[in-house]
Structures are given as structure tokens and as C-alpha cells.
Amino acid sequence: MVGPTELLNTVWIGIIYMIIAIPLTLSYRVTRIINFVHINFITIGAYVGVILFLQGVNSLLLLLPASFLFGAAIAVLNHFIAFSPLEKRGANPVILMIASLGLWIFYKYMIYAILDLGQKVFRTNLFSVIPRATSLPSVSLGNYVLSGHFFAALLVAGVIITILYILLSKTAIGRAIRAVADNPILAEISGIPRERVVSITWALCGGMAAIGGLLWAVFAIATPEVGDALILQIFAVSVIGGLESLLWTGIGAFIISGAENILMSILNATLGVPVSFRPFISFSALLLIILAKPPLGAGGGLPYRFKVGLERFKR
């Protein structure tokens, strides 16, 4: 049944989903691109942490900014070498999605190549590592140990959400980001430098996703496939937020995480559903939510109650 372990798991998994999904929603809102390189942000964040950890950097306080910087740098690089030139040539968002697919393939295998070299340098298998970095002490509650990195994750999540909230709602740059997200043409007319705003958004999103990847490595494991394995869940979380609302993305993170842990545990204990059904539960939760409460309204805002309306009209 539902015990403290399930609750704890829901919390940390939900936090990391939230940290990775919010930048996905934000970058989609501002640029309308379904960005495949988001997968690589996660993996890059994880492995920057791993490599520094192997060099002896044991404190999360130092690893977090490092991951953030790398993630942000790659995101901005993408913008300049791929998305910006393509947009200038009149490519529609679908083409940009495929361009990001090409970049994803490139980065994925570049990471493999770097890890291959790293294996020769560090003489240890880098394809599967758990860097238990920490900066806060653990606390024991009876039989359960709340490890230091758990508190660190809570702290990091709190800080990130606060900073993001203040940034987006109180500062000028935040208003600029929201303006570009809602109506790019109007924003540009009213003098907002769209290019710069988009670059800043990319930097934020890439960095945040990288932090999520680092936390994932510390809590779970770092493999070159870590981004690919997570991305479907992250997409599910963003879709619950309708790819629009950051608040609902955050809530969606905990819904999916809760479904995977708590709901799965209940089903397993009462109905004997094997735990190998866990991905089934996540997607069922997603489908139930978007079918019951479509994020953009029923029919995506379009008057699809066609037959019913027609019948009413005939009557």
C-alpha cells in the first residue's frame, strides 16, 4: 500500500519532472518549436555533473551552475546555427522541429563519443554512473533516511520556481518574454528585440533542463540514454499544462509522478497489476486528463459540436 517511500518518490520525481518540463513548455510557448534537443539538455546536464564529480567536485552547489551554463550554452548555440537562420528563410515550425531532430542525433552521438574518450581518460565505465554528490546532511526519521540530496532538490526547486516567477511576472525581461510568447509580431512592433528575448529564453530553458538532468543523475542514474528515456514522460507533463500554462505543467508533473508511484502501488497491492505496467499508468493518466479536460477547451477551441449544433439548429 501507500507508504512513506511512495510519497517520497512522488516528491522527488515530481520535482525533477517539473524542473525539466517547465522549460519545455516555456520554450514552446515562445518559439513554437517542438525541440528535440531538450533531450540532450538533460543528458548534458547529467554528464557535466558526472565528469566534475569524477574530478572530485562533490558539492551540488558547484555542480548546479556548471550544468546550467553548459545547457544554456548549447541552447543558445542551437538558436544561432539552426533555428535563427531557418526562420529567416521562412521555415515553418515543423521544419524547425526536424532541424532540431537532426541536432538531437548529432548531440546524442557526440555525447557518446565524448564518453568514449572519457572512458579512456578516467579508466572507468562512464556509460552508467551514479554520482552521489551532496551538500546537505541527511536526516533519519525512524527507519527512513532522507538523504542530503533530497533536501537539496527541494531547495533547488523552491529557488528555481521563485526566481522564474519573479522573473516572468515582475521584471521587464519577463514581460518581454511573455509578450513574445503571446504575440510575436505585436511585440516586435512595440520595440521588443525579439532575437535577444528568444536567445535569453533558450538560455533559461536549456539551463533549467540541464539542472533537471543533473538532479536526475544524482537521484537515479546517468546513462547516455537518460534523456531519451525521460522525454515521453516530460512531454506528457507539458501536455497536461497544455503547452501553455506553466502552473499546470508544474501540477501535471506531480500528477504524473503521483500516478506512477502512488496509483501504481495501489493498483499493485489491490488488483495485482504487475509493476511492469508502470508506463501504461502514466499514459493512461495523461489520456484521461486531456480527454476529460482538454487543455485548450473541448475540440481545441473549435466548434466541433457540429452534429449537435446542427440538430439544435434544425429544431
Partner: protein
């Protein structure tokens, strides 16, 4: 060409792959290119088609030869191997039967799936179908009668009675090309018909077409039916080609591969889908040459190979932001009259 490289074999294996992916690409193009439906779940119908073909073939062969054992067991695999080449008519008959049954079954499933996707709206159609696909895949992993995670193996090839493997593979490649051509003709006919025009209006401005009284939900459902049917047929071809099916072969990554082919080749026209799938499958097959260039490098040559492919996709898109083959105007009778007139003027 006496390079010691089997060029004919390469061409045959490439054409088989290209044909199968071209069919799925054209079906995806019907959805996104003509009707503007961003479907991220194509692999689900591909998988349903493959599983249907594998199951029906295995059942028919085992029943005809009077063998009673679970489809996925060793005995079944060995028995299927033995009776694969005895009765040519049975092989070909099963193949044709599977094609027909699969088209209608997967088409029907596609039609049904269009209902929930209407509820969420066009923006979330992709993720909805993808979720259904994943649900189905995880279900199949646990579904024992078709082998669960083991899947089915030893599926008798429709041409297994031809003993020369080169001839068999070659003829199969030609069969796939024929089916691809058929798909192309059907898709072109649909695209250049009044129904095609309605599809394009749904893509360009859905609200306007609703205002003009077009029954958009029914149009979308019909397109889904056709496209899913074609994807199912491609699945049948795959099942016979590999000779085995397994739920983990049908993951979302395959869908995104097909998306790359459609976008790369150019949305909104069937030639583009074919060109896109040809180029991407060709590059995929020929890229192992990189492995031969860097035999004992510091890093595995496979990594370099895929990095190059990623860069190629990006660079090509930079040069051709609309895809390789841009969309051409619809070939309606009106267009024909006008272009004849114009040519007549120029000629005269």
C-alpha cells in the same frame, strides 16, 4: 564494378526498406501534408499491421498443417520453418489475405481513434495517438497469446518457396515497389480530387471550412482511415521482411524517423514523401562506409557516422527550408485548361 562490394544486394535491401518507409511516409503526408493533422503515433498502426500479418500467417500455417501449439513457442517456430516452402499457393494467398484484412482493420482502428482526437483538438492530436500507441505496445508486451515480449518469429515469407535467396529478395523488393506505386497512384488521385481540395482547406484554415459547411470531423476521420490503412500495409511488408515481430520494435522513435522523411522531402506532395524516404534510407544504409574509413580510431566510428548524419539533415534543411520537393499546385481540370492556354500562347 569489381570492388568486391555486393552492389545488387545493397540495392535490393535498400529498395525493400525504402519502399516500406515510402508507403508510411505517403500515409503521414496525407495526414500532415494535405490535412494538417500532426500525427505522432504512426508507429502504432505500423505495429498493428505487422502483428496482424504475423498472427494470421502463423495461425493459418499451423492450422493447415495440423499443428497445435502456442504461436510463440519453439515448436511453432521450427514447424513454421519446415512448412514454409511446401505450398506456394498458401504463402501467396496468405500474403494477399493479410494485405486486405490489415488495410481494413487498421483503417477501422484509425477511424475510431479519430473520435477522441476530435475532443482534444488539432494541437494535441499527435500526443493522443502517441499515447494510444504506447498503451497498445505495453499491453502487447503482456499479452501472452502473441508471445508477449518474446513476440513471434519464423513467419513464413510469401516467397519462401523460391530457393534462390537473391531471386526471392529481388522479387519481394519489386512487389514492395509495386505496392508503393499503387499507394502513390491512390494518394495522387485523392490529392487531386475535390476531396483533396477539401483536405487542403482543413489544413489551411479549419474554421473557414467549418463556416463553409464542410463536415470537418468526418473528413478527418476518413483521412485517418486511409492513412492508417496504408501504414498497416507497410507493417505487413515489414513483418514478412524481418520474419519476426516484437512489441519493442514499434516505439515512437520510428514515428519521428518517418516525420523526418516527410518533412525533409517536402510536405504537401507525395513525390516529396517518396524522395524524402529514398534519401534518408539511402544515407542510413550507405553510412556504414564511415566505419570502414576509420577502422581502429580513438572513438567508435559509428558515433562519427551518426554525427555526420545529424549534421547532413541540418545542412540540407538550411539550403532547402521547404524540404527537397516544394508543394506544387493541385492538378485540377481547371489548372490543366489554364496551363494549356498559357503554353498555347507561348508556343504560338
Amino acid at each position: 564494378m569489381t570492388l568486391g562490394f555486393d552492389v545488387l544486394g545493397f540495392l535490393i535491401s535498400w529498395i525493400t526498406l525504402f519502399g516500406t518507409y515510402a508507403i508510411i511516409s505517403m500515409s503521414l503526408n496525407l495526414e500532415i501534408g494535405f490535412t494538417g493533422m500532426a500525427d505522432f503515433g504512426k508507429v502504432a498502426f505500423y505495429g498493428i499491421g505487422a502483428y496482424l500479418a504475423a498472427t494470421i500467417t502463423a495461425i493459418i500455417f499451423l492450422v493447415v498443417n495440423g499443428i497445435k501449439c502456442p504461436l510463440h513457442s519453439v515448436e511453432a517456430i521450427v514447424a513454421l520453418k519446415k512448412c514454409a516452402s511446401k505450398n506456394p499457393l498458401l504463402n501467396i494467398g496468405t500474403f494477399v489475405l493479410c494485405l486486405f484484412v490489415t488495410f481494413f482493420v487498421t483503417g477501422g482502428i484509425g477511424y475510431l481513434i479519430s473520435y477522441p482526437t476530435l475532443r482534444v483538438g488539432p494541437a494535441f492530436l499527435g500526443i493522443t495517438v502517441l499515447s494510444f500507441g504506447e498503451l497498445l505496445r505495453i499491453f502487447m508486451r503482456h499479452f501472452e497469446p502473441t508471445g508477449g515480449t518474446k513476440g513471434l518469429a519464423g513467419i513464413p515469407h510469401p516467397l519462401a518457396w523460391i530457393s534462390n535467396p537473391r531471386l526471392r529478395d529481388g522479387i519481394y523488393a519489386l512487389v514492395i515497389l509495386a505496392i508503393m506505386l499503387l499507394t502513390y497512384l491512390v494518394s495522387e488521385r485523392i490529392a487531386n480530387s475535390p476531396f483533396g481540395r477539401i483536405m487542403r482547406t482543413v489544413r489551411d484554415d479549419e474554421i473557414a471550412s467549418l463556416c463553409l459547411g464542410k463536415h470537418v470531423p468526418r473528413i478527418k476521420a476518413s483521412v485517418f482511415f486511409l492513412a492508417s490503412g496504408f501504414a498497416g500495409i507497410a507493417g505487413v511488408l515489414l513483418a514478412y521482411y524481418l520474419g519476426s515481430v516484437n512489441p519493442d520494435m514499434f516505439v515512437p522513435a520510428v514515428t519521428f524517423n518517418v516525420w523526418a522523411m516527410v518533412i525533409f522531402g517536402g510536405m504537401g506532395n507525395n513525390k516529396g514523401a517518396i524522395v524524402g524516404s529514398a534519401v534518408i534510407t539511402f544515407v542510413d544504409r550507405i553510412s556504414f562506409v564511415v566505419n570502414l574509413l576509420f577502422p581502429e580510431a580513438i572513438i567508435s566510428p559509428d558515433y562519427i557516422r551518426w554525427m555526420i548524419i545529424g549534421v547532413l539533415i541540418l545542412v540540407t534543411l538550411l539550403f532547402k527550408p521547404q524540404g527537397l520537393v516544394p508543394e506544387s499546385p493541385m492538378k485540377s481540370p481547371a489548372l490543366k485548361i489554364i496551363s494549356d492556354e498559357l503554353e498555347g500562347d507561348n508556343g504560338a
